[in-house]
């Protein structure tokens, strides 16, 4: 099976492990992810604050290229890229004149037929049904699924999951045998792009997220966005400073969690690249015949 793939800058840079884990589980499931030829920046946080046409043209060119390459589904793991792509598709779908104008700017014909999938939709559609056959371990840990902002908002554009209390990642983690907790900060702001300019603010915002998850006994936090990951992982010193206590709860991508359940080598999943070491192990071997039982709570070493 062949699906379109847009890595964007994060997956080639700071979040290589996200890319590695997406590729690893895709390979395990026999899915070929084909990068858009000659892809460019999605515009991310900068373009739509500066220039509307630029912010639409950048994703539109990528989408047009994907269509030209004959792709029908496009997997966009980075939540920011996913958000920009969906926003562009939405805006151009609802404004014919704008659509024509943007086509003129990118000198390409973007038709708007592509299905854009975030990583959870990709998992739901192509991975989850095959998990039972391939799972080697149960992720028998207490986890907090953190969605952040871009994955579920704005609901009118994305039409994905419940905005205030999303559940899709929790469902995937439960399938992996994890105890995914009900907590209060699933969609609170992590500080996002202020990571560099207002690091202390990021420390406060991400700090509250980490604190609530740790307080409720989470052994790991599951994310699907490179920005969230870098704030919650890389900014841990600032977070600990805000919370006035050290926390060693690792932040792992949902694709890495799946990789662990599939028994893929930890290096191949890029788990060694995190700032907060991922010590999770002692997973319970998975046997297919029984229904997934309530996961036993095991101590973190």
């Amino acid at each position: 099976m062949k699906l379109g793939f847009y890595p964007g800058c994060s997956l080639e840079g700071a979040s290589r492990e996200y890319n590695e884990s997406v590729m690893a589980i895709a390979e395990e499931m026999g899915i070929e992810l084909v990068s858009i030829p000659d892809w460019n920046c999605c515009g991310a946080t900068a373009a739509h604050n500066m220039d509307k046409e630029l912010s639409l043209s950048l994703p539109a060119r990528n989408l047009a290229l994907a269509e030209e390459a004959g792709l029908t589904e496009l997997v966009v793991p980075c939540a920011a890229c996913y958000s920009r792509f969906c926003a562009t598709q939405h805006e151009l779908k609802h404004d014919e004149n704008l659509h024509k104008k943007i086509n003129g700017i990118i000198e390409k014909e973007y038709k708007g037929n592509l299905r854009i999938l975030n990583v959870i939709q990709f998992i739901e559609e192509f991975i989850i049904d095959k998990l039972e056959d391939k799972m080697k371990f149960e992720i028998n840990k207490k986890v907090a699924c953190y969605y952040g902002c871009l994955l579920v908002r704005p609901n009118k554009v994305l039409n994905f999951d419940r905005t205030e209390d999303p559940q899709t990642m929790d469902a995937v983690m439960k399938k992996l045998g994890a105890d995914s907790i009900d907590w209060a900060f699933k969609t609170e702001c992590c500080g996002a792009g202020f990571s560099v300019s207002f690091t202390e603010t990021v420390g406060r915002l991400s700090g509250q997220i980490i604190e609530d998850a740790v307080h409720r006994g989470a052994e790991a936090m599951i994310v699907a966005c490179p920005m969230c990951h870098s704030n919650l992982d890389m900014r841990r010193p600032e977070i600990d400073k805000y919370n006035k206590k050290k926390s060693d709860m690792p932040i792992i991508y949902i694709t890495q969690a799946i990789g662990l359940a599939l028994g893929i080598d930890r290096k191949k999943l890029g788990l060694q690249r995190h700032f907060v070491p991922v010590k999770l192990n002692d997973f319970k071997p998975y046997t297919k015949k029984t229904e997934v039982e309530n996961p036993q709570k095991m101590e973190v070493e």
Partner: protein, 666 residues
């Protein structure tokens, strides 16, 4: 020879700002048959009507076309003016230059042309109008009141005290409605039960009122003055004539763990139950979905203990048919439940309750006997947060309208809380304090100044539970929109008031209109606030929009006044706009071939068989005959008649074709 008068109205600027009225009048003067054509600023005003009347006399007019607004409001006005001037009222027609022209177009020549065309069509039609006589029908002087809340009770008592019969139908086992659930009422803090219960008893005792509880409307047929209503009396499994209300069955019932609807799930009740101690009638019903006997075939303890032999397990629903002359809809409202709010936890936190639940907690007859105790662990909350506008005035995620009663009852809740928990603190998050009403603003001031309610102007973005506390996160917009976090023990959401369950279905049964929120629509928002668009059917209380008790009671008395007016006539006058079968000279008698297709499609069973016999009594021909008392003028028979023998008076085929011709052949 037709002599038609045309009267163009400016409707202030409603028409004249877009349509050149003088030009239209001038053009109309040239239409064949038009002998008089003028324009005037307000044709519906007294001088305007006088203009029409004088012109009829002066020019000896045979038809009048008033070119103004929609006929909905003013056709009766102008027909009356024509009648006063000696013209048959059905020789007067209206061309709608406002809704059909000026309001929907720009000012330009094409708009003027369209206005002229509209007038031309009606001139051609009115030339073919016949003088018609109104139809007289009798009135059944019995009113049906649907719903036994405070509005229904008020309407029923007022109508009954005017000397008319009333049938009250209530869906629940007892009358009383939401008001019977309230603790105290704003702005006087008098006890809700204490003022309502005597009125409930009055309903039961009034010889003019027949009360059916645990009953619903099955169907309604007929028309004003002459409705036929079918009422489904749901089986209570109790013989009401035998039951003396001793209550032994409810105390002996072993199956006591069913959610109590009256206490909004905060208490349990037996499977055979009276909803609350002051219920009227004080007769229990068996909840068949919960009763052990109905589920397993064993138990029957209530039957054994009943001294009066009133338990009837095999009782069936009964459908009764009653004739009524008028109907009052008083079906009340409902509120959004806490599970409507994702940001407040989808109703998963036990200590986030809605306003009606708080009423029960504060009520002396409630599950905590009037002590404010939180549902999760029965602790007395020391910090309580009230969230006003939960779901109201929220076009993005809730409903766009203001639920109106919440500002006042939230202030009342804060006062009641402070009266019961002296060392507690009440916070109220609000958007605006809407306290427009007699002594209402003083009441909210009292909450703030005397009872120390902490009002915070801002919205609550989320509420989550942590270590047994509810963390309420909101904004204080009067303090620079800074974030406020309150560690509360309990939260009360003033959830949006919405249409009652089944309102849409009832509206369809009654053929009355309802709005996008499923509230019943009044006939006119200002001038006909208690009437519906269907003659003889009226509205009172919160089934129309959220209303407080005084407003509901006032509307109910208004309805009673309207119905008493209706019943003061011995017969009613109906518009003669009904179907007729043509008649021709013998030997044809009629072009009707007697196929009776019309009979099979008539929704009102108005079509009968008429037999034409010769002098010797031999049957010559069978014709369709339309009963003018039953026909509603819907025109379905006209559409199916193969021989084109049926016409609707006032809308005959020849009139309709003449209108179309006037457009096409010009």
């Amino acid at each position: 020879m037709a002599r038609i008068g045309v009267f163009i109205c400016h409707c202030g600027e409603n028409i004249s700002a877009t349509v050149d009225c003088a030009k239209v009048a001038e053009a109309a003067a040239k239409f064949p048959g038009v002998v008089h054509s003028i324009d005037y600023k307000y044709m519906c005003s007294d001088p305007g009507q006088t203009l029409v009347g004088n012109a009829i006399k002066e020019h000896n007019l045979t038809g009048v076309v008033v070119s103004a607004c929609s006929p909905r409001m003013h056709e009766p006005t102008f027909r009356r003016a024509c009648a006063e001037a000696g013209l048959n009222p059905y020789q007067c027609e209206m061309a709608n230059l406002r809704e059909h022209c000026s309001w929907v177009h720009e000012r330009n020549e094409k708009t003027d042309d369209k206005a002229i065309d509209l007038v031309r069509m009606l001139v051609e039609k009115v030339k073919r109008n016949n003088a018609l006589q109104p139809i007289k029908v009798p009135v059944t002087k019995t009113a049906l009141v649907i719903g036994g809340g405070v509005a229904g009770i008020q309407a029923a008592l007022d109508i009954a005290n005017a000397g008319h019969k009333v049938i009250m139908v209530e869906r629940e086992p007892s009358i009383g409605g939401h008001m019977s659930q309230l603790s105290e009422t704003f702005p006087t803090l008098d006890c809700s039960q204490c003022i309502l219960t005597p009125r409930m008893v009055e309903v039961a005792q009034n010889p003019n009122i027949k009360l059916y509880t645990y009953a619903e409307i099955e169907s309604v047929e007929g028309f004003v003055g002459n409705f036929i209503v079918k009422i489904r009396k749901k089986a209570k499994s109790i013989d009401e004539s035998k039951c003396n209300g001793c209550g032994l069955c409810t105390t002996k019932c072993p199956n006591k763990k069913n959610p109590n609807e009256f206490e909004l799930g905060m208490a349990k009740r037996p499977a055979i139950y009276v909803p609350f101690p002051q219920a009227v009638p004080n007769i229990p019903v068996i909840d068949k979905t919960q009763c052990t006997y109905y589920k397993t075939g064993k138990c029957k303890i209530c039957e054994k203990v009943c001294q009066a032999n009133a338990i009837q397990f095999d009782q069936q629903d009964e459908i009764i048919e009653v004739p009524v002359g008028a109907i009052a809809i008083c079906t009340g409202f409902d509120i959004k439940k806490t599970d409507f709010f994702p940001e407040y936890g989808y109703g998963k936190h036990k200590d986030i309750i809605d306003g009606l639940q708080f009423e029960r907690l504060a009520s002396a007859s409630g599950p905590t006997a009037g002590e404010i105790r939180r549902p999760s662990d029965g602790q007395v909350p020391k910090k309580i947060v009230f969230v006003a506008c939960a779901g109201s005035r929220d076009p993005a995620k809730g409903i766009e309208y203001c639920s109106k009663i919440c500002c006042m009852y939230t202030a009342k809740h804060a006062i009641l809380y402070k009266h019961k928990v002296h060392d507690g603190t009440a916070y109220i998050f609000y958007m605006d304090i809407r306290a427009a009403g007699k002594n209402y603003d003083e009441f909210t001031r009292r909450a703030i100044e005397e009872d120390d309610a902490k009002y915070i102007r801002g919205r609550v973005s989320k509420i989550y539970e942590r270590d047994g506390k509810l963390i309420v996160v909101g904004a204080d917009t009067l303090m620079g929109a800074q974030t406020v976090e309150i560690e509360a023990d309990m939260v009360v959401l003033a959830t949006a008031g919405v249409a009652n369950q089944g309102a849409e279905k009832l509206a369809q049964i009654l053929h009355v209109s309802y709005d996008q929120h499923k509230f019943f629509s009044e006939a006119h928002p200002k001038l006909k606030p208690v009437e519906t668009n269907t003659a003889g059917i009226y509205l009172a209380g919160a089934c129309q929009s959220p209303k407080d008790i005084p407003e509901s009671v006032a509307a109910a008395s208004g309805v009673a006044g309207k119905i008493s007016c209706l019943f003061s006539n011995s017969e009613l006058t109906r518009e003669p706009l009904i179907a007729v079968v043509d008649r021709l000279a013998p030997p044809q008698y009629s072009s009707c071939t007697g196929c009776f297709m019309c009979q099979s499609v008539c929704p009102y069973n108005a079509i009968e068989r008429e037999e034409i016999k010769d002098r010797n009594g031999n049957l010559v021909k069978q014709l369709a005959f339309i009963n003018p008392g039953l026909c509603q003028g819907c025109g379905t028979c006209v559409a199916v008649c193969k021989s084109k023998s049926i016409d609707i008076e006032g809308y005959t085929n020849s009139q309709m074709y003449s209108e179309v011709d006037a457009l096409l052949n010009f």
